[in-house]
């Protein structure tokens, strides 16, 4: 099977994720879209690892998973505490950090 197809899929997933981050207001959905982008990157790394015949890309994919897991922990905690205080999970409602 042509490895380029994996890269097309990866680009497609990344675009969907990025569009989701930019468009959706619900924090949980935005969060899931971020995961989608990360995993699209993982797919690209693994594909390149296969193409070049070394393990670098795979190692980095594992790193990404670890980072993503840590990010989920912190991110969900923030979202939950925002929801508790503001009774909303919309990212547009959390707009206090401005001049």
């Amino acid at each position: 099977m042509n490895p380029a197809n994996y890269l097309y899929l990866s680009a497609l997933l990344f675009t969907i994720g990025a569009a989701g981050v930019l468009i959706r207001r619900n924090a949980i959905v935005v969060f899931m879209c971020v995961e989608l982008m990360l995993n699209a990157c993982n797919l690209a790394f693994v594909t390149f690892s296969r193409l070049h015949g070394n393990l670098d890309g795979q190692v980095i994919a594992f790193f990404t998973m670890v980072v993503a897991a840590a990010e989920v922990v912190v991110g969900l905690a923030i979202i939950v505490s925002i929801f508790r205080s503001r009774h909303s999970a919309s990212v547009d409602d959390a707009n206090l950090m401005k001049l």
Partner: protein
């Protein structure tokens, strides 16, 4: 003997301290205390003088170091006194005339309820003036210089309830400040050039320094000249002296005739080494002197106020001294000699004027006097002797001292010598004219008295003996001093070790100069006789020629100052304020406004919406990736 020098200054200072802080309980004895302490100072001066006479001519200097006043790193100002022949001359003049005027003031200020304060100020003046002439460094001299300025201010404005006196005091103070700035800048220049304030460190090195730093030494000379102009009322800082006559007459006699106004002559003579090394500054000094001696004389001719006529004369006589001091070693001694004789006769003349005013209900207009010689015989005789002395009548003080200055002016040599000599001769003629005018209008002719504003008819009478005795003593000084100084050139020999002296090479002989002076004297007296004795003096001043009218207004000095300095200053400050508002503030405010506007626009990027930040991150990353790829492709 050294310890006595400090006491000389301390005695009147103590008097000032006691009298000014003692309060009303001293009102009954204050004037006696003040006079006593002035007398103590004079006695100490005489004792030191006797001691000095007993020594060799080259070994007469006494030095007394009291303490270091300001020790900061390389900067060291001492309080130390130096008593040499030059200082000694001044000490005797200041304390001697000062004591006489204290005695005179006891009678003159008898009816003034603030007499104690007056004597306190007089003592303060004596202390400051002695400090000025005894200081062994410029820093301490400056303290004395400011001290006499303060005392002068306080005494001119002594009758502060009169707005004219208060204004005159302020004017004197402010004009003196201009000169004081000159002195302080001069002292700073001396410190940077020589690294010290002491006369002993500066003066011997002046000649050497002028070879390497000629411009600096000349600059110091000009600054000292500016200082002398302010204190001695020389053109262009002369405008305060006429108004200073608002003060009580003893003050005019002591401060504004005999002593303080001669401080400029002292400064120039003391700093002679600097002027000798800076010929340009010397030229400026003689120019100032020559201009002022004519300026003051012309003003003196037109004034009807007896004190202001004498003030013009003071200005003119100090012009003679400054000119002589500017001539260098050929003139220093004669400048000081004229200073001393002038101290006698001018103080005597002012005291005489005070005595006349005392008997005439404080009338100062000479057109309201006339025929007073019958009513005030003592005043007439003493004033008359002072008059003969100032016009240079042969045998009296002024004859010897003024004649020597005119000789020295010719001895300067070249065209300069001729110009200066002729100015001095012309000045002598004008002096004879205006003093004869004062004399005739006051003591001769018919009575022109009128009742004063309250309807009191004046009853001219002789003054009490406390006033006449000082006048008599000063009259003796006016008659004898010049002759005593000239026997064997004793005064020249006395001062020569300090100031140096050289006989100039005069193109005209001494006899010719004396003859010229006599001709000038006869012409001046003759014109005055024809104008004021042959004809009756009108009680109201006639309109007069253009020059007379200008001279009545002090040759337009105040108008000049008003137009050039006051208006000019106003315009300058206004334009500077405009420049400040438009240019400086414009730049500052413009920068602030543009930064503010820009940041206001940038602020809109910080809208708090996470998604808009995400867009800018995505856009930025895209640009970075595109740029990286583009760089690779190139």
């Amino acid at each position: 003997m050294e310890n006595l020098i400090g006491l000389l200054v301390a005695s009147p200072l103590l008097g000032a301290g006691i009298l000014l802080t003692g309060g009303k309980r001293l009102d009954r004895v204050g004037h006696w205390l003040g006079t006593l302490l002035a007398l103590v100072s004079f006695a100490l001066g005489v004792a030191l003088f006797a001691n000095m006479l007993g020594k060799d001519a080259d070994d007469r200097g006494l030095h007394s170091h009291l303490f270091t006043w300001v020790p900061v790193g390389g900067f060291r100002a001492d309080v130390g006194f130096q008593l040499d022949q030059l200082s000694m001359t001044f000490v005797l003049l200041i304390t001697g005339v000062g004591t006489l005027i204290h005695i005179y003031s006891i009678g003159y200020m008898e009816h003034d309820e603030r007499r104690r304060r007056f004597f306190g100020y007089l003592n303060l003046f004596l202390a400051a003036m002695l400090l000025l002439v005894l200081a062994d460094n410029y820093f301490l001299l400056y303290a004395g210089w400011e001290g006499v300025g303060l005392a002068s201010y306080l005494l001119i404005g002594f009758w502060q309830h009169k707005p004219s006196a208060a204004t005159a005091a302020k004017k004197a103070f402010l004009v003196n400040r201009v000169g004081d700035i000159g002195l302080s800048v001069g002292i700073m220049l001396m410190f940077t050039t020589f690294g010290s304030f002491a006369f002993a460190d500066i003066l011997p090195k002046a000649q050497e320094a002028s070879t390497t730093q000629h411009a600096t030494v000349t600059g110091i000379g000009f600054m000292l000249l500016l200082a002398a102009c302010g204190k001695s009322a020389q053109v262009p800082l002369q405008s305060w002296l006429g108004d200073a006559m608002e003060g009580p007459t003893p003050v005019s006699a002591l401060i504004h005739a005999a002593t303080m106004v001669t401080a400029g002559v002292y400064l120039i003579t003391r700093s002679g080494a600097i002027f000798n090394a800076a010929p340009d500054a010397q030229t400026a000094v003689v120019t100032v002197g020559a201009v002022t001696l004519l300026f003051g004389a012309i003003v003196g001719c037109a004034k009807d106020d007896i004190k202001k006529a004498l003030a013009g004369s003071t200005m003119s006589q100090i012009g003679y001294m400054i000119m002589a001091a500017g001539l260098g070693p050929i003139g220093y001694v004669f400048a000081i000699m004229h200073l001393v004789t002038h101290g006698f006769f001018k103080a005597g003349l002012f005291l005489g004027a005070g005595s006349v005013m005392h008997g005439m209900n404080d009338e100062v207009d000479m057109r309201r006097y006339g025929g007073l010689r019958k009513y005030m015989p003592v005043t007439f005789v003493t004033f008359g002797l002072g008059y003969l002395a100032i016009i240079g009548f042969p045998g009296l003080s002024g004859f010897f001292s003024k004649d020597k200055i005119i000789e020295a002016a010719f001895a300067k040599g070249g065209t300069e010598g001729w110009i200066l000599g002729c100015c001095a001769l012309l000045g002598a003629a004008i002096t004879a004219f205006y003093m004869t005018r004062v004399m005739i209008m006051t003591f001769f002719g018919e009575k022109r008295w009128v009742p004063d504003a309250d309807g009191h008819e004046p009853h001219p009478h002789e003054s009490p003996s406390s006033m006449t005795i000082p006048m008599i003593i000063l009259a003796f000084g006016s008659v004898l001093a010049g002759g005593l100084f000239s026997i064997n050139s004793s005064f020249v020999k006395w001062l020569e070790p300090v100031t140096g002296h050289s006989e100039g090479d005069s193109p005209v002989s001494a006899g010719t100069v004396t003859a010229g002076t006599m001709v000038a004297l006869v012409i001046g007296v003759g014109i005055a006789w024809a104008m004021y004795a042959r004809r009756s003096v009108p009680a109201v001043a006639p309109r007069g020629s253009l020059l007379t009218r200008a001279a009545r207004r002090d040759l337009l000095q105040d108008d000049f100052n008003h137009v050039v300095l006051v208006r000019g200053g106003e315009h300058l400050t206004r334009s500077l304020v405009y420049l400040d508002h438009s240019l400086v503030d414009g730049v500052v405010n413009g920068t602030a406004a543009s930064v503010g506007g820009l940041s206001g626009r940038l602020r809109k990027l910080q809208n708090g919406y996470v998604r808009s930040y995400a867009v800018s991150m995505l856009g930025g990353s895209a640009v970075l990736v595109a740029a990286t790829l583009l760089m690779r492709a190139v």
